[in-house]
Symmetry: C2
Subunit: 101 residues, 2 copies
């Protein structure tokens, strides 16, 4: 049985987890420092969020769709910064930063 | 329509996001260092995971239940370490660690 209360709980959960993940993206974009970000873990996480969004769409589950489509934005931004730092040679895989600029 | 493929996608998504969140808990427990953890963000996140687990139970959604009940374990462990560090006076709110031990 679908009720308004259950939907409200789902959207509340979506708001909490989505809000809690934004500050990392803001910090990464502001500082430009991705040395403390694990490529493997952030890659797994981003792929997982994409899979959750697809699952939500297939189940027509509003809170799951909303939470994961929105979370996909900061997750992709952080992953893109991390990949760019690695490709530019500013960081080595598994190591810290070599230096800025 | 519920199909095996949709369930498999959901459990795949659950595995990816759950796995990606464990290393933080392992690192925190091993190092005992919670100075880089934001109490507010981790508190919001843990509360959100609890709400998602309740939502999953009410919707009888297997992947949502599994992902969030399992994620609740490392999230609670990290939050407990952070709170203990603050209560023991090893860290100040909003600041870094004062020192170890």
């Amino acid at each position: 049985m679908e009720s308004i209360a259950v939907s409200a709980l789902g959207y509340g959960a979506a708001t909490l987890t989505t809000l809690s993940l934004f500050p990392q993206a803001v910090k990464t974009v502001r500082s430009g420092d991705t040395s403390a970000i694990s490529l493997r873990m952030y890659g797994l996480f981003t792929l997982g969020i994409l899979a959750w969004a697809a699952y939500g769409l297939l189940k027509a589950d509003g809170p799951v769709i909303a939470a994961n489509l929105i979370t996909l934005v900061p997750a992709t931004v952080v992953l893109e910064r991390k990949l760019r730092a690695l490709l530019d040679g500013r960081e080595r895989r598994g190591g810290g930063p070599r230096g800025r600029g």
